[in-house]
Symmetry: C2
DNA sequence: AAAGCTAATATGTACGTACTTATTTTGTCA
DNA sequence: TGACAAAATAAGTACGTACATATTAGCTTT
């Protein structure tokens, strides 16, 4: 006498996911129509549609009108990354957060920065270098450019106690964010700031944000040796 | 006389997103109830619900029953990464793909590998080292462990022409995948295989997959110098 | 006061219908 | 045979209702 519990779209999603995992449907195979699955599983088509949309979002299946649903022929491994404010990241790991402004100048942005922003006309930008600490040890070295045209407040902002990272995230929501990850070897200056040896391998997390097409900021977060970036499971 | 075009949930989502971007609702602020937004925007509550769910998924707002919807107080930068099969990645960049098996042995997995799989009992695993090439130049060095208990087929598999990467992705769908990113300096052996100098900074993409709780494979994709990992915009 | 019960409330979800839209298939005509 | 138009198809979406569920607020009891 189990109660006639209705299927949630997540149940349906997991069911279909399992069918794919089991090999019942292999890469490229076509799945039944939503309507048929709905009938078979005794639920509404809209429920199946919601489930399928989720599977499509996670890259497991391809859906096309009239073409139906098929298992992706060349699957991708899709992962989601959460990058919190650095202060919060440190605190969540149980560390004591520290922050120090290193340098702050306004100068014409180099070509590489303009290119990152997809700009062609040169313009002055604020360059801000700062260090984030965890338990007194260097954690992330931040090399940032901020566009004063989009963010005029930056000029009057006190960045000795609050980091640009934090102020921007809280006050300048973006509509587009590109991220890049790569490795570099520590140059002498970086090495000194991060209290490591020259030549150490460092993971760099580079982020660029826009509001519509107006550039906000681009930042290289140069992490201390041993830093590991994890996906959210 | 514009046609009375109905609002799609994506329209509603973008509208609310814009309201947040404009600063009308700041971090921590509470948004109107779904029902009120629905009335204001002249659509059904279910439409607003779908929009809000998406905003919640992308980390912009927090939703709680009875508590209502509020803008996330400590926003996170959420990014999505797509990692395709290496062959496809090379080909999409317009390169000619090459592959070479370097080494393949079955041995007891070291503790670090067991720990990655969240296993406690030692067991034999296949270790597979292989090189992926782009236009004849080393592109990714793959250091992989496969669990024969979960993937018995691996023992009889010819890996001289097809990479384990490709076979696994096409034949062993997973239910869980953890990823880690970090930087290392090239050791002599790696440097030789990747045709670079000892000490070069290399980005490592480490992936571990399970089917339910059964370990499938864990792999360190050691990328050639200059490799950049990008988010899908 | 503190603890526990009750009511109120906002989101979560399913359902079935109606309609829209992209894509493929089929059919027609030159 | 090829080009083009028409029909068929399957996903995409909106809507309004009904009900479920988590969480808060208020009220009662000790």
């Amino acid at each position: 006498m189990t109660p006639p519990t209705r299927l949630s779209w997540k149940d349906v999603r997991d069911e279909i996911h399992k069918a794919i995992l089991s090999g019942r449907y292999g890469p490229g195979d076509r799945l039944p129509r939503d309507a048929d699955i709905a009938e078979e599983m005794n639920c509404a088509r809209s429920t199946v549609q919601r489930a399928m949309q989720d599977l499509s979002d996670s890259g497991l299946v391809d859906r096309r009108r009239k073409g139906g649903t098929r298992v992706r022929a060349e699957p991708v491994t899709r992962a989601t990354l959460d990058i919190p404010i650095t202060r919060r990241e440190v605190e969540q790991r149980g560390g004591r957060y520290g922050y120090q402004l290193i340098r702050r100048v306004e100068e014409t942005a180099p070509h590489s920065v303009l290119a990152t922003f997809e700009l062609t006309t040169p313009q002055p930008m604020q360059r801000i270098e700062a260090l984030h600490f965890s338990d007194g040890r260097p954690y992330i070295l931040e090399d940032r450019w901020v566009c004063p045209e989009t963010v005029p407040e930056i000029r009057d902002l006190d960045l000795t106690s609050q980091s640009a990272n934090e102020w921007l995230v809280l006050n300048k929501p973006y509509s587009r964010c590109d991220m890049r990850f790569f490795a570099i070897t520590a140059e002498p200056q970086m090495a000194e700031l991060l209290e490591t040896e020259v030549g150490a391998a460092l993971l760099v997390i580079e982020r660029t944000t826009w509001i519509e097409t107006a550039p906000i900021t681009t930042v290289k977060a140069i992490t201390a040796p041993g830093y590991r970036l994890l996906t959210t499971s």
